[in-house]
Symmetry: C2
Subunit: 497 residues, 2 copies
Amino acid sequence: MAAVAAETRWQLLLVLSAAGLGVTLAPQPPNILLLVMDDMGWGDLGVYGEPSRETPNLDQMAAEGMLFPNFYTANPLCSPSYTPQEVVGGIPDSEHLLPELLRTAGYASKIVGKWHLGHRPQFHPLKHGFDEWFGSPNCHFGPYDNKARPNIPVYRDWEMVGRYYEEFPINLRTGEANLTQIYVQEALDFIKRQQAARRPFFLYWAVDATHAPVYASRPFLGSSQRGRYGDAVREIDAGIGRVLRLLRDLGVAENTFVFFTSDNGAALISAPKQGGSNGPFLCGKQTTFEGGMREPAIAWWPGRIPAGQVSHQLGSIMDLFTTSLSVAGLEPPSDRAIDGLDLLPAMLQGRLMDRPIFYYRGNTLMAVTLGQYKAHFWTWTNSWEEFRQGVDFCPGQNISGVTTHTQEEHTKLPLIFHLGRDPGERYPLSVASTEYLDALHRITSVVRQHQETLVPGQPQLNVCNQAVMNWAPPGCEKLGKCLEPPESVPEKCSWPH
Amino acid sequence: MAAVAAETRWQLLLVLSAAGLGVTLAPQPPNILLLVMDDMGWGDLGVYGEPSRETPNLDQMAAEGMLFPNFYTANPLCSPSYTPQEVVGGIPDSEHLLPELLRTAGYASKIVGKWHLGHRPQFHPLKHGFDEWFGSPNCHFGPYDNKARPNIPVYRDWEMVGRYYEEFPINLRTGEANLTQIYVQEALDFIKRQQAARRPFFLYWAVDATHAPVYASRPFLGSSQRGRYGDAVREIDAGIGRVLRLLRDLGVAENTFVFFTSDNGAALISAPKQGGSNGPFLCGKQTTFEGGMREPAIAWWPGRIPAGQVSHQLGSIMDLFTTSLSVAGLEPPSDRAIDGLDLLPAMLQGRLMDRPIFYYRGNTLMAVTLGQYKAHFWTWTNSWEEFRQGVDFCPGQNISGVTTHTQEEHTKLPLIFHLGRDPGERYPLSVASTEYLDALHRITSVVRQHQETLVPGQPQLNVCNQAVMNWAPPGCEKLGKCLEPPESVPEKCSWPH
């Protein structure tokens, strides 16, 4: 049904174009390019105030597009969560992914970079709608000894073509790796091929050079004022510049919707050498403070999204699903609740839609933002035990009763902050104030509705097993890189945070 | 001598213009407009990452000019220091002020706003080179009872025309005051008059709506996402927009050098309702951490300073003296050491000049920055006694051994930070590292040279006397607003921080 609707819309466009211009080529649905960074923080871009201002291409993208200062991820950890390779689960077949739906409208889809939705065969991205993949199923941690733990494989489409630290070296001492260059080239090649074939494309570009261990290629190493982390940012920024220039050079920029964001806040535990910046916000990755979940976000679609705009729409990374479908002229599935909004009215007409942002940690609703008000029902950074061992999610920041090292419940009287006056979450409103009571009243009703209508997902990350790790990915036999898995011993996963 | 040199240069320009264009009007030296904010922080502008992004005119000024992310004030307090009206001293006659020197090149000069260099007759700005003044000698604290303490007078030129809270109301409850509107109008009128008279002008626009008690006029009250402080910022931003538009409309934008900055970091003690933001930097006003002294800074000179540039030149507010003289074709006085650099090479040719930034608190050299390295010889925020009473210069920030509440000496082994990797001064370099030793070596030599060549100024702020307050400013008799001073009792001034 969605596909039919889309077809109707494109036929209408064809008629209009033909009427206006005489002879015209058949129009294509717009291309969709999602650039999703790994552990990059809100404060890492020049346009968001990073003092070294080393992201000229992203800053230019913002100048030509729309900046979203109030855009959030769905979880303060990578992907749905931080999945080591012993996790048994992954994306269920019952979930409809964007490339599956876009396929109905004729899109070719590719993922470049990290998948992170399960590395076992049934979770492979090409089983979930993608036509092509170049990248890896897990994070580039390592090197491993291939006895207790195998190095993460790198796939081209169905089969592995090598492993990190082996065929795809990452020098942990110097920080040198060519992976971002490879990922840029994969993007450029894919775009050129689809353009030559006159096929609309969906490209999900999920590079991970800014996730510790951070890396950059030799020309970028030492090029930043910010050390190795900054080198990685510069290389990604330069790569995005090349991709956007290609779209212009191919004459398809005005038919390509591009969105840039990140998967969670900067990992302050890796700072200062391997972690980024969350600007003026509190804490970082792994927390439900603003530093953990507010993300850099830029929408770019020359000729459609007006240039140089700032939208204060509260946005969520989940909106990219609905918004991308809308760009393609498709409707989201009607057989289930969809959490994301269609942001096109915000992007194209400057509309502001009233909607809450929910901050989850695992299954716990930690906080909610509605308008300018954020209510914390629970506060927690990490345990005293970890903290005393030097693990600090909020280095240099300490707000009494807020950055707590025990899980503090505030569900009866949440801590409420006004994010406009106090983006750093330093000054809870007085519970005796009218402002507090008004905000609480509005938030309570939204949370009640959310909890009443919530359909919980099935846990995918609760069973671990050393035997399911990347011992013998498809294609390993051709490369002579199959390893012997240990005995299968399923166990409960341990999630310390 | 300086004036002669300037004349020669303008004559040369005249010859060149005449040769190139045939008939031409006599050229004028460029106008100079210095916009110096009060307690506005680095992080308060959209272009520096303020999430609400409510400074479209300043952001546009940056897009048309040059942004300086590494620009510093000379002291983390208002003006040379925070001078209450009982301070006896002020600017000595032996100091040459910019308007005195610019007068030799034919400039008309005006100060709009806060003078803060002494309020007694001998310190009056019109005795130090300004032709006009509209504003006040001290901060707009109050209201006072006119018995123990008079309200601060507002001057037009030589004489007071009223007092704050009396003829110039500030409503502390609502935050309403029309002063920024008056200051904008004064700027517009002055520019128009000088332009009509074909005189080059120097305008020093020192508005103080962002200093607590912050205020805005009725149309701006409630207009910001950031509360009353944001209302004040929006009104100033709109005013600067009007001034820059006037320059364009009069056709003199390309002959006007404009520089925007602030006198010290945001006053976090007034946050969140009356204080601004220092972005990712540590602490604020009253400290020598980056939040206290790194300032927003934008240079604008259409046709001369290239548009949309970022300069990583380390700049100082003291450079505005030398730079302004250079703009006017004048040389700084040769009979004394001049601390400021001429920044025109950075602005016009993109040059980077190696120079240190010194961070003083009173007479104590607290820290120095050289390149990317900042060394703290002393750390101090405020006393434990004040801190325990709730006075906090670093709210929400606590870095062990750095944000100290005792005056900690580190002169032998300074705390050294790399400001590129660690702009928030959270991670001191290991004293055992080569990086530390190299930085220390370079910094030590620069500090030694500084201290050997330093000519200390005469203290101006060490004697206080209730009798010297603004009891009977010139013009008070015409208004019937003279008050009776108390008995003269000179005493040592008390400076708690």
